[in-house]
Amino acid sequence: MDATQKQELRRLFASRLTGAVRMYLEACTHCGTCIPACHAYASEPELRHSSVGRAENIRRLFWRHFRPQGRLAGWLNEAVELSEDWMEKVYETAYTCTGCRRCVTYCPFGIDTQQIQSIAKLLLIGAGREPQVLSMLADMSIAKGENVEATKASFTQAVQGLEEEVIARWRSEAGREAIPIDEKDADLLYVALAGKHSIIPAAAIMNAAGENWSLSYFEAVNFGAFVGNPEKTREISQRIIDEAVRLGVREVAICECGTAYRVMKFMMGELPFRVVSFVEVIARYLREGRIQIDPRKTEQRLTYHDPCQIARNGGVMEEAREILAHLTRDFVELQPNRVENWCCGGGGGLVAMGEKEFRMRSARVKAEQVRATGAEVLATACENCHTQLSDLNEHYALGMRVAFLSDLVSQALVASQ
């Protein structure tokens, strides 16, 4: 690694060193409380697959480059110099972690390990060593925002082609579109993913509730966040923010996608509209009596996986239980659940990157947790979790059906009694 690149990486590292981040880097006493909290360590007990094990790879750089004692007597803190070899450790730090923050809830000092992970991801971008697939997906999202006008007509046509499937779940009032797009003065902008599975159930539910809604032209997921690029994260979100402002909506509902929800809710600063997870929207409709669901339509034993970015990091936990109480008479909680739930093992970009061998190996504890419930249906509210849980279901022969919460609700919609 030449001096110019080292200087640039040092600059990127320094750009992350807020007071809080310095505290996170300096306060660790190596008590080890976080070690068994990581699903990867619990599945495969190696220190490198623990929160503190990963963070140390960044701390050792911090001591060498930003602390006098590290420069003068590096051996005291095992300080290390930025180097090509050490960047491999930085990569392992960033991409063996799903960003679930389960470790944070156990740390007695409140060290937010994701702030340390964000340094690792930024260094990888600076060195051109980040997973290219994540950068490609982020660039694609940005290009989509720049060319949206060129694809609006074909997207609208494709969405109209889904209307029959929406109506099969809930017939809208005469004269109302089953999937409205570009509705000025809609109350709610629903931001889906590319796939029809994230559009059809939500459309049926909102139509049943009589919601004045509009479908976004953009996909909710934010690959800028997965790759740890703050500028791209902002650009990707800005497309949706601009659309919401143009339509004058009061609320933006993010589909069942954990990262999309966390980014829009917590990372975009003050916005002129409310940001909610679609889980919150369904719970509200049930609470207000705007939709009814028949629990007899979900007769199998059901359990629920709290997506980390919606539950532990987003605070949306009891809303899911409200829905589940309406949805089934045979619900069994995962143990542990809510804030303490085990991560599925697919977050942080790992699903998009592939990494199936690691994902299966590092989530053995998740598979065991799910199997112990004896449930036949495993519901969740995040695309990443759904993909990972489906892979675990197959890999560990769990014999379950993995389902989105919105799909189960839309299949059980009934007219008011």
Binding site: S141, A150, V159, L162, A194, G195, E219, V221
Partner: protein, 79 residues
């Protein structure tokens, strides 16, 4: 359909996000430069995702067609 022959047809129907774009970025290497892949998908978002991917990757979307719930995207490998 335009005046070109299809070297390969790939079925991406029902894949979770973001797999259609991830797969085309991998599968495009399986044909020679100048050849055309037909992608089948059911994702409305692919109609915007694929042109954006083509722009950033330097490939070309020749046309898109929609029939009975299936979207056909014709991709020419340029690089």
């Amino acid at each position: 359909m335009g005046d070109y022959s299809i070297a390969k047809t790939l079925d991406y129907k029902g894949l979770p996000c973001p797999m259609p774009v991830v797969k085309i970025s991998q599968d495009i290497g399986s044909v020679d430069v100048g050849e055309v892949i037909e992608v089948l998908t059911t994702d409305p978002g692919s109609l915007a995702d694929f042109p954006a991917w083509a722009k950033t990757s330097g490939n070309e979307i020749l046309e898109t067609q929609q029939d009975e719930g299936t979207i056909h995207i014709f991709v020419r490998r340029v690089k």
